[in-house]
């Protein structure tokens, strides 16, 4: 569902120039962002033994609520995936033997919140609070070479959470453009309720987060 929303949003963004003139878009920011949450749950190492990072990328829109651009509401959709090959040692004293399977997690996130800009100059420093709906899907496959492998496991979970971030953004006005390019970087902490993947068990996808993005401001 969220994948569909993300796809439609992207299609909408691609077709936006044909309809933008008809809307009042002044001050609205639209951008693409990417980031990761460093998941503290040890079981997440099944998907990323290196960084334990839940990645996602998507679209973010910020709509100012006041004239001096201090307060804005923020909405975002994002999709991400992470995966690894999991080895299991099954040998004996005299012979090493490994079996393996592919483990992957996909996530779709829908976010909404408020952003308050504390310092407003060419560089803006802001704080942001959001609530999130997160749907994640775990897929396990012990023979990924064959699409019809009998042992393909898929379990999905939906959870909710919230985050608090601090960030910095920078506008780069260019006279040749009617819109203002901008970029941002922010860090914070995501808190999610545990995600229950049926018989597989629970994952807590909370953790430190870091996101960055580029966009335009009308």
């Amino acid at each position: 569902m969220l994948r569909t929303i993300a796809t439609l949003s992207l299609v909408g963004a691609l077709t936006a120039p044909t309809t933008a003139d008809a809307l009042e878009l002044s001050g609205i920011e639209v951008g693409l962002d990417t980031g990761r949450t460093s998941v503290a749950d040890g079981n997440f190492l099944l998907f990323d033994d290196h960084l334990s990072a839940l990645n996602s990328s998507g679209i973010r829109i910020a709509v100012p609520l006041d004239g001096d651009d201090r307060l804005a509401i923020v909405g975002a959709v994002a999709h991400g995936a992470r995966g690894a090959t999991t080895e299991i040692y099954g040998g004996s004293d005299w012979e090493d033997e490994y079996t393996e399977f592919r483990s992957a997690i996909f996530n779709d996130r829908l976010s909404a919140g408020a952003r308050y800009t504390a310092i407003s100059s060419r560089f803006k420093v802001y704080g942001m609070a959001q609530v999130h709906g997160l749907r994640s899907v775990v897929r396990l496959d012990d023979d990924p070479v064959h699409d019809d492998n009998a042992t393909q496991i898929e379990r999905a979970a939906i959870t909710a959470g919230a985050s608090a971030d601090v960030g910095i953004s920078m506008d780069v006005p260019l006279n040749a453009l009617t819109v203002t390019p901008l970029g941002w970087f922010e860090m914070g902490y995501n808190v999610f309720l545990p995600s229950q993947y049926e018989d597989l068990g629970k994952l807590n996808l909370s953790g430190l987060s870091m996101r960055m993005g580029v966009g335009i401001k009308f």
């Binding site: 691609l14 290196h50 090959t85 393996e100 992957a104 042992t151």
Partner: protein, 531 residues
């Protein structure tokens, strides 16, 4: 421009529609424990599978249902099927932290020096943990009374010994499976075998029990445990030697059906011990050589003894213990008894080709000459057929069709009613052989060959062989009490196939090993929680 947008949208849609074709794979991770152990126990209500990574026990049934048995936080370390085919005994353990603090929730929170492990024996039936009781995990070998109500657990050095506090290595544990009561009886050092008689008796509640005595064989002595007393108690000990510097290790033993005599062969001696359990005396029967195997046939009420180096079988009656020798063409070192008035003799060590059916009524040894030496032999439960697996014999220098037998592994079906045999040459080494149970018990054999992604189904009556394709490479097979076969596959996430030998239909259950994949080291129980 429009085409570019449509192409981009199409690519995104394709990605969304093929979730299994594109699983991200950015790095490698490792698990220390297998998700499942392919040493499965087949009970009447399904297959019980240990999940070492999750520390759990799963029950898998042929209808595709998988359920995790609630073990109250304990990790199963082993499984034993009781003789009733319905009860599974599960030695299990759990971690505790001896340092008491409300802040300690997981094993990781606990200081290393305060970590400990406790254990119990859980009784599982119909997917439920019925009871559990404390039993040192060193008691890892089990024998069950004929009616399945009593288990005798003894210590095996091969399975590892866990000494916690003081462990009496001369004890066996008698486990009443219905009540969970455990009684320990000291029987002798290094118990190796437990035999039960099949005498019926009534307990205090009037219930009929089968098995009034247990004979426990250990180093240099045999202890008889009276099972009719409450609690079971040691009734008599038969020393096998009066010289305590001398070790006498039993090699084979059998109880007569009435439970009066216990016949024991020993290592490196040509003496046969006949223990009279009623009158509590020992008769020594001198043989010409050291026996390699012996059995007692309940129907004939006779003992058969074979010798690895002597081409003969001795038959001993149980009245005056006279021994009659029957000459063979080749020596046999193994006997399989049927309790139906005959036994099957073979040799799995000498490279000989002969198998014999010993008829106790006529004292005849009917010879079957197989193409290759026997590596193992199994008699079906109906006693109508024996199936022998044959080793290749590359040095035989044979030619023509005989060379095909000599160069390959083989299988021989012996019709024990009509005294004929049929030999097959096999594509590869057999790694599994099972027979269908239930009403069709002896009609079908299932054979698994190393590296072959199918199983051979053999109709023992017609000797017709058919091949059944499998969804994945097999690793082992077994049979269920209900008469079906199950086949395990090389699948880390769990894959078992059920084969109905009547229809050839295969039903596959997959993915059960992923249950509890996201596990942690939460301390579920404290030491005081043990029942």
């Amino acid at each position: 421009m429009t085409h570019t947008r449509l192409t981009l949208v199409g690519l995104i849609a394709l990605t969304a529609c093929d979730p299994w074709g594109n699983l991200p794979n950015q790095n490698w991770t490792e698990l220390n424990d297998q998700l499942w152990d392919a040493d499965i126990v087949a009970a009447t209500d399904g297959l019980y599978v240990r999940l070492p990574h999750a520390g759990a026990l799963a029950r898998v049934t042929s209808d595709g249902t998988t359920a995790v048995v609630d073990m109250d936080g304990a990790r199963p370390t082993n499984m034993v099927l009781a003789s009733d085919d319905a009860t599974v005994l599960v030695p299990s353990e759990w971690d505790i932290c001896t340092y008491e603090s409300d802040d300690i929730k997981t094993l990781s929170d606990c200081p290393y020096e305060d970590r400990d492990t406790e254990s119990e024996l859980a009784v599982i039936r119909d997917g439920q943990r019925l009871s559990a009781f404390e039993l040192n995990p060193s008691f890892s070998q089990f024998k069950f009374s004929p009616d399945g109500t009593l288990g005798v657990a003894f210590i095996s050095a091969e399975e590892g010994i866990s000494v916690s506090g003081a462990l009496n290595l001369t004890e066996v544990a008698l486990v009443a499976l219905e009540t969970g009561e455990v009684d320990h009886v000291s029987v002798g050092f290094a118990a190796t075998e437990v035999l039960f008689d099949e005498v019926e008796w009534a307990d205090a509640d009037g219930n009929t029990r089968i098995g009034s005595r247990a004979a426990v064989l250990s180093q240099s002595q045999v202890a008889i445990v009276d099972l009719t007393s409450s609690p079971p108690a040691l009734s008599v000990v038969f020393p096998l030697t009066l010289d305590y510097d001398q070790e006498v290790d039993p090699t084979g033993a059998a109880l007569t059906a009435d439970g009066q005599y216990l016949v024991i062969g020993t290592v490196n001696t040509a003496d046969l011990y006949v223990l009279d359990l009623e009158d509590e005396n020992i008769n020594m029967v001198s043989l010409d050589d050291t026996p390699s195997d012996l059995v007692i046939d309940a129907t004939a009420d006779q003992t058969a003894i074979v010798y690895a180096d002597q081409p003969r079988v001795d038959v001993m009656d149980h009245d005056v213990f006279d021994v009659i020798s029957i000459e063979l063409d080749e020596p046999c070192n193994k006997i399989v008894d049927t309790d139906a008035g005959f036994s099957v003799l073979y040799n799995d060590a000498a490279g000989t080709h002969d198998v014999y059916r010993l008829d106790y009524a006529t004292n005849d040894a009917i010879e079957y000459v197989l193409q290759n030496p026997v590596s193992s032999l199994t008699v079906t439960k109906s006693n109508e057929y024996a199936v022998a697996l044959l080793e290749p014999e590359p040095g035989a220098n044979s030619g023509g069709l005989a060379a095909e037998y000599d160069n390959n592994w083989g299988l021989s079906i012996l019709d024990l009613l009509d005294d004929r045999s049929v030999d097959f040459a096999l594509e590869a080494e057999p790694i599994g052989l099972e027979f269908a149970g239930g009403e069709q018990e002896s009609d079908f054999a299932l054979l698994l060959l190393d590296g072959v992604e199918s199983v051979l189904q053999i109709d023992l009556l017609t000797t017709a062989v058919s091949s059944v394709d499998l969804p994945e490479a097999p690793t082992g097979l077994g049979s269920t009490p209900s008469g079906r076969f199950f086949i395990t596959h090389d699948s880390p996430l769990g894959l078992v196939s059920f084969l109905d030998p009547e229809t050839g239909k295969i039903e596959t259950v997959s993915g059960f090993a992923a249950a509890g994949l996201f596990t942690d080291d939460t301390l579920v129980r404290t030491g005081e929680d043990a029942e």
